[in-house]
Amino acid sequence: MNIDPIAGSTTALMRMALDAAQMRHRVHVTNIANASVPEYTPVRLDFGDALSRARAELASPSGQPELQALDPVAVPATDSRGQPLGSVELDVEMADMVQNTMAYQVMLKGLAKHFSILSMAASDGRR
């Protein structure tokens, strides 16, 4: 992923995070829709090492992270003991979905703030 010289890495990072939130949302929606299917096992997203990789690249002294596209895999959801869940837990699923929706909105607010800073710079400091 190329870093835009004007928008900087914030936009690229935000884009990644928004993409991830949206994919997570799709997983929650699918789990909820299939809640009444007996043989359906709920899934979670596994982003592999994408996030730790991005973090390591951001911490590197060059400061120019080479952000990769996210490539998550849907894996069976597990409970706190690591056992795969046999059926969809509707309450947990709803709570996770609401949390994810909130996180998505927070990220959009952050992005809007970033753009408003850019806009202020472009308009010579005048609002």
Binding site: T30, A33, V37, A74, M94, Q105, A112, F115
Partner: protein, 154 residues
């Protein structure tokens, strides 16, 4: 990511839950009927749901998402559920009522063996699952409409 297909998943979930509600209503409504129009006792129905492998959208949708690049696709994720109705072969409930026009030679009238308790539980479960799907769809709608506000108002 294709937002429309997320709505499709919720819609499929709602369709299945509504079908379960319909079938439950049908079973309860016919609980005390002694024969159907085509003769014989009413057989209770049951909805059998299963998850679909691919997302709805048909060939065009598949081609479109392939053309859009697999940047945000999720491997191994199911689509929405699908359901069909099966007839249950349960023994009829026999009530001794010799004066009834549908009574058999022994004076017994056959009523469908509808599991009343099971139907009520099924109805409440379907109702709650339907509500959950509506809330999920509203969350999707909220996310889409907030996304449309990117870059606005700054």
């Amino acid at each position: 990511m294709d937002q429309g297909s997320i709505f499709q998943v919720s819609a499929a979930g709602m369709r299945v839950e509504r079908m379960r509600l319909d079938v439950t209503a049908m079973n309860i409504a016919n609980m005390n009927t002694s024969r159907t129009r085509s003769g014989g006792v009413y057989k209770p129905l049951k909805v059998v749901a299963h998850a679909t492998g691919a997302l709805a959208g048909g060939e065009f949708g598949a081609a479109l998402s392939a053309a859009a690049g697999e940047l945000t696709s999720v491997e191994g994720l199911n689509g929405g559920p699908e359901a069909h109705v099966v007839t249950l072969d349960v023994a009829p409930r026999k009530i001794h009522d010799p004066g009834h026009p549908d009574a058999d030679a022994q004076g017994d009238v056959s009523y469908p063996g509808v599991d009343h308790l099971g139907e009520m539980v099924n109805m409440v479960a379907a109702l709650r699952a339907y509500e959950a799907n509506v809330i999920a769809m509203n969350a999707t709608k909220l996310m889409v409409s907030k996304t449309l506000e990117i870059g606005g108002g700054s």
